[in-house]
């Protein structure tokens, strides 16, 4: 733990007793069953309606049809259907309308549409209920496993290097209950994150060099340093922006994490200078996507304090998703949405990603391999755009994005 950090440790089981959670899950499942029987009924209506439509369509083909005319409930008379183009339709509440076949078909068609809308709504409700039940079950399981919620006061660390990885992972835990993860997982993810961040840093530096924006970056760096609460390590405004952008993804306090890994990453980045391609690849994969989005999409600034990157990195599934979506300028955006899909992290705040107006940041997102790297076409599409953005100027980034779209 950090020095003198006060905190509370609460076993999750005490907050949400597992039996109650299971009971809640069962109740919800009961509701689901109810809805599903209702759904079946509605679907029966829908199919009956469509059968009727086809019947009404075919009746006028003949002058009259030989049929068995029902007489009461248990008797039939042989007879004929006459006036085959005239139908009496019940409109409800005892009102009938005499319509032709075509008009009747229209009425039935409209009825069918209404019913289908009802079916869709019911299905959506069922999905929500199922998600709720799943959540209850997972809470019950977590409570049983003895997961512990640890809350700590946030103490700023003047020296990032002094933070141990344990602290980082602990701070990871200092978060809302939903973000409980196994301790081991987080630590592994942090290392992964650190590695990736290192590569990202390295790529950024390279870009900056190419852009010849070093001086600007330096100034921005200073600003960022201030912003970062004395975080000396920020290489460029980009990093900070990354951090800020990150928060859209996580509800965790990542400040610790972000600072830390960045520091660690600097060296690896330099070593990895020849691995531009893979690093951009990786960066694309994981949390970097958050950065990418920052650059590419000029979202409004969110004033959240917590950088999310670590969190986004930590989700391996994200990386896969991102990969695929990165191919378009909107890759970031879609990848963002993928992040959102991930159950752990996002609370769907893609749009809250901060993109401050700093050029350096936009231009130097790791993935952007500028022109020299035609290797990955997808990335290239991103890069030229970002570089274009960074070279032109203070047009609102958002507008630029719109243009790109």
């Amino acid at each position: 733990m950090g020095d003198g950090v006060k905190g509370t440790v609460t076993p999750l089981g005490s907050l949400f007793s597992p039996e109650e959670a299971r009971k809640a899950a069962q109740r919800v499942e009961g509701a689901v069953v109810q809805r599903s029987s209702e759904l079946r009924r509605l679907q029966g209506f829908v199919s009956e309606n469509s059968a009727l439509i086809s019947l009404v369509r075919s009746l006028p083909d003949e002058l009259s049809h030989e049929i068995m005319v029902p007489f009461g409930g248990a008797a039939f008379f042989p007879g004929r259907l006459i006036h085959t183009n005239e139908f009496l339709v019940l409109l409800g509440d005892g009102y009938y309308a005499e319509r032709t076949a075509k008009q009747t078909m229209d009425i039935l068609h409209r009825r069918g549409k209404t019913m289908e809308a009802q079916v869709e709504a019911l299905k959506a409700t069922m999905l929500d209920l199922e998600a709720e039940a799943k959540f209850f079950n997972s809470t019950a399981e977590e409570a049983i496993e003895g997961i512990v919620e640890i809350r700590e006061e946030y103490v700023e660390e003047p020296e990032k290097n002094s933070l141990s990885s344990d602290t980082v992972s602990d701070s990871l835990h200092s978060c809302k209950t939903e973000n409980l993860q196994k301790l081991d997982e987080d630590e592994d993810e942090d290392e992964e994150y650190a590695r990736i961040m290192a590569r990202i840093e390295e790529l950024e530096r390279m870009e900056e060099l190419e852009n010849g924006n070093t001086s600007e970056d330096n100034t921005q760096e200073n600003e960022d340093t201030v912003v970062r609460d004395g975080d000396g390590g920020s290489k460029a405004g980009d990093e900070d922006e990354d951090i800020e952008a990150g928060h859209s993804f996580s509800t965790l306090d990542h400040k610790y994490e972000v600072i830390e890994p960045k520091q660690k990453l600097k060296d690896p980045l330099q070593k990895a200078s020849d691995q531009k391609v893979p690093s951009s690849f990786i960066s694309r994969q994981t949390g970097n996507i958050s950065k990418q989005e920052l650059k590419e999409e000029a979202f409004s600034n969110s004033r959240m304090q917590f950088p999310v990157e670590a969190h986004s990195f930590s989700n391996k599934e994200l990386s896969v998703g991102k990969e695929k979506t990165a191919s378009s300028p909107f890759g970031a955006q879609s990848s963002v949405s993928k992040i959102e899909d991930s159950p752990h992290e996002t609370t769907g705040q893609t749009l809250n990603i901060v993109s401050s107006g700093r050029k350096a940041f936009s231009g130097s997102i790791v993935e952007r391999d500028l022109d020299p790297q035609p290797v990955q076409s997808s990335k290239n599409t991103n890069l030229p755009q970002s570089s274009a953005q960074s070279s032109t100027k203070p047009v609102s980034r958002f507008k630029m994005q719109k243009g790109n779209r």
């Binding site: 009956e48 309606n49 059968a51 009727l52 019947l55 009404v56 009746l59 009259s64 049929i67 068995m68 005319v69 029902p70 007489f71 009461g72 409930g73 248990a74 008797a75 039939f76 008379f77 042989p78 007879g79 004929r80 259907l81 006459i82 006036h83 085959t84 005239e86 139908f87 009496l88 339709v89 019940l90 009938y96 009747t104 039935l108 009825r111």
Partner: protein, 148 residues
């Protein structure tokens, strides 16, 4: 000793109550539902009979009616002659009758249905009696302890 008796009694009372609630009452409900169904069928046939009689009386040889195509969409139908009528005799069969034959069949059918209803009524009465018996037993059990 007394306390033990009390406890034993309580248990018995509970068992009786459970028996009533879980077995007898649902049985009663089921029997009543079955009987209602049979009564309905009987009603259908009696209506039919009335209609056939009126058909005969008014010498209606042809009919015009509305046929439900489903979902309350009606089409006009015409019966050119009402001499033959098809009656549902059960098991998915419909037999062609002339009107007087149909009337005869309906009366036979009605008699059978009445007998079925009678049987159901007996069953229901039986179940009701059982429930009453158990309730009395519970009451006895509960009243005795105070007497002691």
């Amino acid at each position: 000793m007394d306390e033990m008796n009390m406890r034993v009694r309580q248990e018995k009372v509970q068992k009786f109550e459970e028996f009533v609630d879980r077995r007898l009452k649902p049985n009663l409900v089921d029997a009543i539902t079955l009987r209602d169904k049979v009564i309905e069928k009987q009603k259908v046939f009696s209506d039919l009979k009335r209609n056939i009689v009126s058909l005969q009386k008014n010498n209606m040889t042809s009919l015009r009616s509305m046929v439900n195509l489903g979902s309350e969409v009606y089409a006009q139908a015409e019966v050119p002659e009402t001499r033959h009528i098809f009656l549902d005799i059960g098991l998915g069969f419909h037999v062609e009758f002339t009107l007087p034959e149909a009337l005869e069949f309906i009366s036979v059918r009605e008699a059978r249905l009445a007998k079925q209803i009678e049987e159901h009524t007996h069953l229901i009465a039986n179940i009701k009696a059982q429930i009453k018996l158990v309730c009395e037993g519970i009451r006895e059990l509960l009243q005795l302890p105070p007497a002691e």
